[in-house]
């Protein structure tokens, strides 16, 4: 995966978010304060523009540009996704990267989000999709495509599982049982992101 592949990844992610934005906002409305979609739209809009105006030599350069856009964004998801991308970028500064770099990057990035946000798996947050994706990459032995398939499936099932959880972190924790049955929008976004990494 080189810089151009990474740009394609991000483009597919932007497109997937555009499709799902309304649904994500609705999820945050039912469990939080309803601004998730707007926060993400601001960040991705800024990322899109920045990528158009920035040359990037490595996947890390691309991911760092996206990180900066998120770190310019409010809410809880802005800074946490920002630090996730920023940490991933640090591990992907080679011209071409493979499963090993991605796996280390996902692991570091997820650890950073957990350290900063204090959420553990099962708390009904983005972490519930990040951790299984990271573990799938770490355990992958085949091709990049196979590894990404596994990671995408893991992220998606992690996101799906948030429906049954009771939130312990973030705004959803204020509403308690009311949000039972509602997917966590942050976790769903992680699933969209990892799914977008696949090229087939």
């Amino acid at each position: 995966m080189n810089a151009s592949d990474t740009r394609d990844w991000m483009r597919r992610f932007f497109a997937a978010f555009d499709r799902e934005q309304q649904a994500l906002t609705d999820l945050d409305r039912r469990s939080g304060d309803g601004d998730f979609g707007a926060n993400l739209r601001f960040a991705l809009g800024r990322a899109r523009t920045a990528l158009e105006n920035t040359a990037s030599a490595t996947p890390g350069d691309v991911l760092d540009t996206v990180a900066t856009a998120f770190l310019h964004t409010g809410g809880t998801s802005g800074p946490l996704f920002g630090m996730w991308f920023r940490q991933l970028a640090k591990a992907t500064r080679a011209e071409t990267i493979g499963v090993a770099e991605l796996a280390r990057g996902f692991a570091d990035a997820t650890a950073t989000v957990q350290r900063l946000g204090g959420a553990r798996p099962g708390d009904k947050t983005m972490v519930d999709a990040m951790v299984p994706a990271s573990e799938a990459l770490a355990g992958a032995s085949g091709s990049l495509d196979e590894a990404l398939d596994a990671a995408a499936a893991a992220a998606r099932s992690g996101a799906e599982a948030t429906a049954d959880l009771l939130a312990k972190r973030g705004r959803a924790s204020y509403v308690g049982e009311v949000a039972r049955g509602v997917l966590d929008p942050g976790a769903v976004t992680v699933a969209l992101l990892v799914e977008a990494a696949r090229t087939r």
């Binding site: 900066t68 770190l71 310019h72 964004t73 409010g74 809410g75 809880t76 802005g78 800074p79 946490l80 920002g82 630090m83 900063l116 946000g117």
Partner: protein
């Protein structure tokens, strides 16, 4: 009755107000528009820089406290929303002159998160950063220690003033952090509202109160408080707040305090002064000495009608730092 404000586009309130503020104090402040933050017009070299910030709507906090003897930079978010991590990081690296940066952070999830990230980013850029978390609001303290803990409210002004003065005197970052954390541990506030504020552009206040009720323990973001109590003369309302503050700090005969009687927005100077008198007399009645006091709008919550009282244990060193010269838009002596 409908609430209205002087506003153009509600989304532009903060940048327009920042521009208007800096235009009023060209000799004191410099505006950096994107990412947005405010620094001193004349940077102070050779000292630890002091940076604070948080949501807007609390003016004069924090932008009004940038200047000699207090802050080196302030980072304003949208109304009642944290500034972004990159705003804070940009301000932090901009004011570092090699002695490091002290960040003063009010205890709110968003502020804590964005300032922590900003500190990491600034550290990556070679700036030494440490933080003081201000958590003085008694109302949000839970006996079991669970939850997000005490919020940061008006004590932040005292922390910014005293740490600003100490930094100006050449203290290094570890000393500032030690001093500031001890100061925060000795500071408690509580607020009371007679009417909620309204967001710029909103036609209605955030919530309504019955005619015979006041809201006790209000925060500064339009949240309701911990409950209602009967409206009563100012002496009685003052006693309600003071009793809790004195107990929380364990104050005793012979102790001295710094006092802030703070308007939450729409409460008039006559009322504040009259409550300050009550604070003075009631503390005197308990044998507690008011070493210094600030009476005015310092940490507001838009146009909320209400006030907060802050007590901070005083000692000679703290009083000397209080008295040290300061030259900012909202505090100068």
């Amino acid at each position: 009755m409908t609430r209205r404000q002087f506003v153009n586009d509600p989304d532009h309130v903060v940048p327009e107000a920042l521009e208007g503020l800096v235009l009023a104090h060209p000799g004191l402040l410099r505006l950096h528009p994107d990412p947005a933050y405010v620094t001193r017009a004349k940077p102070a070299p050779g000292k630890v820089a002091v940076v604070s910030g948080g949501g807007s709507g609390h003016e004069p906090l924090h932008t009004g406290f940038v200047g000699a003897g207090m802050l080196d930079a302030a980072v304003p978010g949208a109304v009642f929303a944290s500034p972004t991590a990159l705003q804070v990081a940009a301000a932090t690296t901009a004011v570092d002159t090699g002695q490091g940066v002290l960040q003063i952070v009010k205890n709110y999830t968003g502020d804590v998160l964005n300032f922590r990230i900003a500190a990491e980013i600034a550290t990556d850029h070679g700036t030494a950063v440490d933080q003081i978390l201000v958590d003085d609001d008694l109302a949000s303290e839970r006996a079991d220690g669970e939850g997000p803990g005490r919020r940061g409210t008006a004590a932040v002004v005292v922390v910014e003033k005293l740490c600003g003065a100490l930094a100006e005197q050449g203290a290094d970052l570890p000393e500032l952090v030690r001093f500031g954390r001890a100061l925060v541990a000795d500071a408690r506030s509580m607020g009371i509202a007679l009417a909620a504020g309204a967001h710029p552009g909103d036609r209605a206040p955030a919530w309504e109160l019955a005619d015979d009720e006041v809201e006790l323990g209000v925060g500064i973001h339009g949240e309701r408080g911990i409950g209602q109590r009967a409206f009563a003369p100012a002496e009685e309302l003052t006693a309600e707040l003071l009793g809790r503050l004195v107990a929380a700090l364990g104050l005793d005969r012979g102790d001295g305090v710094l006092v802030v009687v703070n308007s939450l927005g729409a409460t008039h100077g006559l009322e504040l002064a009259l409550v300050h008198r009550a604070v003075h007399r009631q503390l005197a009645g308990r044998g507690i000495d008011v070493a210094r006091s600030l009476v005015g709008p310092y940490v507001t919550s838009l146009d909320m009608a209400g006030l907060s009282i802050t007590l901070v244990r005083a000692d000679d060193a703290r009083v000397a730092l209080w008295d040290a010269p300061v030259r900012t838009p909202a505090l100068t002596w």
